[in-house]
Amino acid sequence: MHKPDSAVFKRKVWAASGSGMRGNMANTILSVREIVKDYPGVRAIDHLSFDVEEGEIHALIGENGAGKSTLIKTLSGAITPTSGTIIVNGREFSKMDPILAKEQGIGVIYQEFTLVPGISAAENVFLGEKTSAGIFVDIKDRERRAKELFDQMHVEIDVSKPVRDLSPACQQIVEIAKAVSKDVKILIMDEPTAPLTVSEVETLFQIVRNLKKRGVTIIYISHRLEELFELADRVTVMRDGAYVGTEKIQDIDRQKLIAMMAGRELKETFPSRNTDLGEEVLRVEHLYGNGDKDISFTLHKGEILGFAGLVGAGRTELMRVIYGADPMESGKIFLHGQEVQIHSCNDAIASGIGYIPEDRKAQGVFLPMSIKWNTIINNLKAFSNGIFVDEKKENETAADYQKKFGIKTPSLDQRVRNLSGGNQQKVVIAKTLAANSEIIIFDEPTRGIDVGAKQEIYKLMNELVEGGKSIIMVSSDMPELMGMSDRIVVIYEGVKTGEVAKEEFNQNYILDLASGGNENGTDEKNMD
């Protein structure tokens, strides 16, 4: 039951929001008044006020760095606002704290994981909760209840396994389970779908609709605008920390939303490019390793090769092997027809391969360092005379990329830790591009990035291939993958199940391959 294109999404939207409009929702459950949040050098939220009505799904959108995450953190008590009031159920607060927020029935799925890596999924789900009376924990009971929750969500997660051993997507599902396991009245979700693929997204939507039926109010943040049209009742737009406006979802369309977010008209397409596929630059033969089995493919000059697959298919694992980050068990890698030995990332970089990792916090950025420092770290040799770093060139390059991607920051000396999630992602991309590789692997490049910046990245990818470079793009965003790729390779549980040429692109077909090919086409995940 997957939507092949956004047209279908839209049709569903009307149905969904129609049923959501039952009764009158005039009851304001949560409002914020004149909230300000200052950070040194930055005003993240600027006198923002808005209201959320009981039982609605209220979307909150804005460009990267608009202040969405900061706002919801003030609501959950993760941070203290500089000034302003929060009104929940008619009670006024000048600030929240996590315990108070919990008492008010506020639950949050944060943009960044808030899991305890060393303890089991079950314990994470019930973190901080009393699941039984007395001072003793009944762990078996917790595991049983967690399993029930995951079963309801149609995902299979070993509830006794430490969450650090789970893939990012599974971790996100644990986050979701954690939030919905509680008896919340207001559930705030900050980009919950970012690490998910289509089938989990569908599961999530199901959960959200069920919650809504139970009368739970939901604040939903996403950069995937089509999701809003499917789910939301109303949408509030923020820009530069300030309130722009609130609209009923029926009264607005995608273009208008984007204009509100960006403050200007913005064309949203997958820009066309004209490149002729050149000679073969990369060939992978019978690659085994890191959970992947017998994978072969080729990449040509000027090509964007997409990789599709469900969560945990092993795409990231494959890319890491090619990039030398994880060991290859057997197989061959050819560059321009020459076999190369890649034993380390440095070998890969030396061979002209660049990699934009999917997990920006863990693998991408250096949080304590400045933006400009991060920008050139992947290719320091080119920015130094062999020993000393050329700081002038560093400044120029960093300024270039900041302009190109619109990295929102008061200065290039700002620590990356203080940037919003999307802006951090832009730094990761800048950093890899500055290394000037011939083949660039983009692993979930647009995760958490706003529409405007996405356009920039697409444009940039086109420029790169037009300039004779080649790109491998791993993405869980199907329209994006189909819009950008020349070919798509599909991976299922570490095995290549197909390769689809541009002419044959079809979401259903690709998803079928991604769930194990035609024979296994009806995987349990796809029922419903």
């Binding site: 993760a78 315990i99 949050v108 890596p117 060393g118 303890i119 314990e123 003793f136 924990v137």
Partner: protein
């Protein structure tokens, strides 16, 4: 998600430290004269009790993502205060013990409070605390030890109940208590959560500040119990006591599988770690090994044990 079949490494992961203990035990049983006598086993247990109690406390802090380098100083000061009250001020045993424990908890809470309120890394807070307390211990009597504790008090360190030395009984009660708290109660689970991801714990509604102070207070409690045993055992309060504890505790905790970065480790492992060190101390002396050489052996054993323990973690991840 498919389960790969269990390799020996998984078994080692589960039983590693016990295998290590067995190996060390068998080695000394064969090589050290009189090692395997019933009395010597009791002996070893008595020797490790005091240290083991402190290490249990330190392990709780480490599991909670902290560190306590000040336990030695806490022991010294509590010991001096005990002696001062009982000998110089002729206070009764019970009130002296109560005050001693209270002061231990106070020092611990102070560590926790400073770490929480001033947002300073625990290792630095407790390092400062150690410097301060070591100084204070000497300032109480100007550096002289206090001797001549009441007879009944020395029983705590030297006495027996049946054939079991009193310190061993206290130690056993302590670890059973610690084990139940860490494994079976909400409090224990919260401590693991705190150590694993403090922000996640906070956002889950755990009062992380209060919990932090509580854990440090517990370590102070452990240190004060150990101080009582120490004073009873040597019949003297000495200001220089515990000066080697910061490293010794860290060594024992790491040997027992407590992770430096918090959130991981088991009380049972810690007990085994402590016993391994106790056996080494005892066995090497029985074998007549030079004390400098003992230091070398301990260093290598620690490294070997932790390396094997880490080996699997690495294998699992990559």
């Amino acid at each position: 998600m498919e389960q790969t079949k269990k390799t020996w490494i998984d078994y080692y992961k589960k039983f590693g430290i016990y295998i290590f203990l067995a190996a060390v035990f068998i080695f000394f049983a064969a090589a050290a004269p009189n090692f395997l006598s019933y009395k010597n086993i009791i002996n070893i247990l008595r020797q490790v009790s005091m240290f083991g109690i402190v290490v249990t406390g330190v392990s709780a802090v480490m599991i909670g993502g902290g560190m306590d380098l000040s336990v030695g100083g806490q022991m010294a000061v509590v010991g001096m205060i005990l002696g001062y009250f009982m000998v110089n001020m002729n206070m009764g045993i019970v009130p002296a013990i109560v005050i001693g424990i209270f002061i231990g908890c106070l020092f611990g809470s102070l560590n926790g409070l400073v770490a929480v309120k001033l947002h300073v890394a625990p290792i630095i807070v407790t390092l400062s605390m150690m410097l301060v307390l070591q100084g204070v211990a000497y300032l109480i009597t100007g550096g002289y030890p206090i001797t001549g504790m009441p007879e009944a008090f020395t029983m705590i360190g030297q006495g027996y109940i049946g054939v079991i030395p009193v310190p061993v009984i206290i130690f056993v009660i302590f670890i059973i208590f610690g084990w139940i708290v860490m494994n079976k109660t909400y409090l224990g689970r919260h401590i693991y959560a705190l150590g694993g991801n403090k922000e996640a714990a906070r956002l889950a509604g755990i009062n992380v500040d209060r919990l932090t102070v509580f854990i440090y207070a517990f370590t102070g409690f452990a240190a004060s119990i150990a101080a009582i045993i120490m004073v009873g055992r040597t019949n003297a309060s000495q200001p220089g006591a515990g000066s080697s504890y910061p490293f010794d505790c860290m060594t024992a905790a790491c040997l027992g599988g407590i992770s430096i970065s918090g959130g991981e480790g088991k009380i049972s492992g810690v007990v085994v770690g402590v016993i391994i060190l106790g056996i080494l101390d005892n066995g090497l002396v029985l074998m007549g090994v030079n004390s400098n050489f003992q230091s070398v052996v301990k260093g290598l054993i620690l490294l070997a044990a932790v390396a094997i323990d880490c080996y699997q973690v690495k294998t699992k991840k990559s």
